[in-house]
């Protein structure tokens, strides 16, 4: 075996190594580059922030007794049941639930004597957490709003702007 033929495999190995490295670099470049671009596309499609929502003052905590509920109308026109269930003074005392029944869109009422929300359209009953417990909406929930108590005042986070639909011309 002479020197030339001993060198040849080493040369081929080096060549193969360089080809493999350059291919891997290319693949990494393509994956990395278009991967970043793809993530930008995804981020663009995902709704940006929650700039459409605002924290709104509802009531001082001491104006709402345990077991009572008030109806708050948001700037966008939705109605929200703000209900007090405890008097520790913490955020957990309050719930903010939509008054729209998830069954067919009727308006639910707070019944303090039964500690429940009631939908008169089809006798739907929700517990005080807004979970449907009997009637057609059983298993459904009233949609909730983020709520917070700050310095003895109750705030909820709601949509600020309504979807404007032009009135139909008669």
């Amino acid at each position: 075996m002479n020197r030339r033929s001993q060198d040849a495999p080493a040369d081929t190995r080096r060549r193969r190594f360089i080809v493999a490295v350059s291919r891997a670099t290319m693949a990494a470049g393509l994956l990395g580059g278009y991967g970043v671009f793809g993530s930008v596309l995804g981020r663009f499609l995902y709704p940006a922030g929650d700039s459409g929502t605002v924290w709104q003052f509802v009531t001082p905590t001491d104006r709402l007794a345990v077991g009572d509920s008030l109806i708050y109308t948001t700037p966008a026109g939705a109605e929200v049941h703000v209900t007090r269930r405890d008097d520790t003074g913490a955020t957990g005392d309050f719930t903010a639930l939509s008054n729209v029944c998830p069954h067919l869109g009727c308006q639910v009422h707070w019944q303090p004597q039964h500690n429940r929300y009631f939908c008169p359209c089809h006798n739907g009953v929700f517990d005080r957490e807004g979970r449907g417990v009997s009637g057609p909406p059983e298993g459904m929930v009233l949609s909730g709003y983020p709520i917070e108590v700050r310095g003895g005042m109750v705030f909820i986070k709601v949509e600020a702007t309504p979807l404007v639909v032009p009135e139909r011309r008669s």
Partner: protein
């Protein structure tokens, strides 16, 4: 043969060898030179335009009362909206530049001559399609330039004899710019013109494949066997690298010079200075120099001559002693186009 490949073969009975033969076009050696990849560049940029354009359409609202605000939302509020809008704008700019450079390359290498006359004409249609995409694109922002650009264009169309009035009404969806006009521009920009473009590109590439790439020989090339290299993977690698370079370039341009917004369109106030995008400067200067119907008709004649150039050139070469006249005519036309573009860019009116 594995079960999977048998399953696929039962449904798509294409022989791998035949598919490879069909797609793996032998490429002349001169395509190793970067400036011969100018045909693939606009194709790549078009893909970028489709991707970013589809995304922008998720937020864009083609109505005069909301269009400007929706573009502002994309630019300022949507996550990475500024980036995608700027990439869309810069890719459009580069696409037009690349199309023009591609056409110049084809012209000066005589690649439009027999048997490739038809593909030159397809290329002309692609150029017009690209320019119309540019025009309808900047009409959508609904800034002053969008509104007055569209109004001026409609008035120019109006001066064409016989069909002018019809064209104007078709463009504006009425006698003047109205609340249904933007929807028209949007549908043209986002559906009709891209559809045409895809179909034309398919024909363009099919004709290149049928006729083969024009073969040129440079003195410094090694005397290879037949002077060809395989399309796959060699030329694919070239295109991949061009694609990555373009993405870096687009991102840099989008970051350093992001797309901005002019003042909101105001039908009551004609702007002091009204100018189209740079790629229409030459047309605009020509229209100002000639004025009225003469300008429009002469533009039409110029476009017709460009379409028919392979046949005019063939006539020159057959019937006159000026066999290389096309080079000098091309140089003169290029200088004229550059000159008029610079002129329009420098003067306020």
């Amino acid at each position: 043969m594995t079960a999977l490949s048998r399953w696929i073969d039962g449904r798509i009975p294409i022989e791998p060898g035949a598919l490879r033969e069909l797609t793996n076009e032998p490429v002349p050696y001169h395509l190793k030179r970067w400036w011969f990849a100018l045909g693939g560049t606009p194709a790549y940029l078009f893909v970028v335009q489709v991707v970013t354009g589809v995304l922008l359409a998720f937020y864009y609202q083609p109505h005069p009362s909301t269009a400007y605000e929706s573009v502002r939302y994309i630019t300022e509020d949507a996550t990475f909206g500024w980036y995608l809008r700027s990439v869309h704008k810069w890719a459009a700019t580069l696409m037009i530049a690349a199309v023009v450079l591609h056409q110049l390359r084809v012209y000066f290498t005589g690649a439009y001559r027999k048997p490739r006359e038809l593909n030159w004409m397809v290329g002309m249609l692609l150029l017009i399609c690209t320019l119309m995409l540019g025009f309808t694109g900047y009409s959508l922002v609904f800034e002053q330039l969008s509104y007055w650009g569209a109004t001026v264009s409609a008035n120019i169309a109006d001066t064409i004899p016989v069909v002018g009035g019809f064209l104007k009404r078709m463009l504006l969806a009425g006698e003047a710019y109205n609340e249904r006009t933007l929807a028209r521009f949007f549908v043209l920009h986002a559906a009709v013109l891209p559809g045409f473009l895809v179909a034309l590109v398919a024909v363009h590439i099919a004709l290149v494949r049928i006729q083969g790439v024009t073969e040129l020989r440079f003195r410094d090339e090694p005397p290879q066997e037949e002077g060809k290299f395989p399309f796959i993977p060699d030329h694919i690698y070239t295109e991949l690298i061009i694609g990555l370079v373009l993405m870096v370039l687009l991102s840099a341009l989008a970051t350093l010079a992001p797309a901005t917004m002019g003042p909101l369109a105001d039908p009551m106030t004609t702007p002091e200075e009204i100018k189209p995008e740079w790629f229409f400067y030459v047309t605009f200067r020509w229209l100002k120099l000639m004025g009225g119907t003469a300008a429009v008709l002469s533009m039409g004649l110029i476009v017709f001559v460009m379409f028919a150039w392979p046949f005019i050139d063939a006539w020159f070469r057959r019937r006159t002693p000026f066999r290389e006249a096309s080079v000098w005519i091309g140089v003169a036309a290029t200088l004229l186009i550059i000159g008029m573009t610079v002129w329009e860019a420098l003067v306020p009116h």
